[in-house]
Subunit: 160 residues, 3 copies
């Protein structure tokens, strides 16, 4: 019954806790055989950055600065609340460990393994000066129109 159901997420936020919420929903949906497409836009793109592939080549001065100050990869994201210079995040991660909850990067890898499709917003990539080569493998570029076309066919659409 659920095989044809689809969950469409826009991950706009580049925050540890919001990304975790998105990935928990995505992974849970895949366990229910729901198709899941995540459209990473703006700060959400920071989640897809591969820390080992970061490059400053072919970038303008602003793009270089931005590349350096923007978070690189899942574990580098701040909390949306109570970040308190990283203390809140350290606390949250400790509490997650106490409950054997996986880290954000585990959720991310798990999502790709479970078949969640990752899409990077074309315009956001350009504006933020990120290149597809700096991102995780298997990420595809999508325009806003292509996102909308896909989201129209989804049963649940969320902006996170």
């Amino acid at each position: 019954m659920n095989q044809k159901k689809k969950l469409s997420l826009i991950l706009f936020s580049g925050e540890y806790d919001k990304a975790m919420a998105a990935l928990i929903l995505a992974n849970s949906a895949r366990q229910m055989d729901i198709t899941v497409n995540i459209f990473f836009a703006f700060w959400g793109l920071c989640l897809l950055r591969d820390p080992e592939k970061m490059s400053l080549e072919d970038k303008t001065a602003f793009e270089k600065m931005f590349s350096i100050v923007a978070p690189t990869g899942p574990e580098d994201l701040p909390l949306s609340k109570m970040n308190m210079a990283g203390i809140g995040k350290a606390m949250l991660k400790e509490m997650m460990e106490d409950h054997d909850a996986p880290e954000l990067s585990d959720f991310l890898k798990g999502a790709q393994k479970k078949g969640v499709k990752f899409f990077a917003c074309k315009l956001s990539l350009e504006v933020m000066g990120f290149k597809l080569e700096e991102m995780l493998p298997e990420v595809k570029i999508l325009t806003a129109k292509e996102y909308l076309k896909d989201a129209l066919e989804a049963n649940i659409q969320l902006f996170i």
Copy 2:
């Protein structure tokens, strides 16, 4: 016609104004005979904390610290913007009073009276170290999968 319509909200944010937006939508929907289920996750759980039931028993050191620094109940939530150490919120509350608009805690009680169902995200409760006994009465625990199953049947799904 609207009797079978359903509104499904995830309240992830622990902010006064966002919680107010969620509850205004929920209460308005109930007045239109729309079924409303709110799934409180992460910071959204702070809204459900009963200030008089807060407990530090059976909690790890981190959970105790977290229990103390996280907002306790609706009136303790900060604004998402212009909070300015509480001044912005005081202004907003003054302006609401001038217009006889109820406070957030009134919206919350009103929602429960009107039949809005409150659900606490199971994983969030565990990670944040909150216990169901510390929450408002009539809150039930729900897993992410149960949320998704319910949201699939809703006509409107929002992530707030």
Copy 3:
């Protein structure tokens, strides 16, 4: 096929980047002949404020203060992340210029030209002390119930 499709957005956030995301989705949808209604609530109303029509008449002391400190119009909005006293926003705008991407105010005018309908949340207007006369032309007032009635008929509903 898409002519009868509808996109319903709540723009709650008063942030430059989130407003841009909302307007890019809205404009892209209009190019696909999708009907688009945006319901501006709380901080989202700041986007509709016409800098040349700001007025302090018939306002309480709090409303006057609020009118002055709240952002006036699209270019006055802060970034949701890395605003860094405006430096982050300046960088983002520079990078957008490098890519010939239009500014937020262009997206806003473009949306109205393309037939995106703008609605201001009635309760938010009252609470924040803004008046319809201070807003862009062609903005209509809508209650939360009217929003819900409209959103029930939409194919995609997002809270931004």
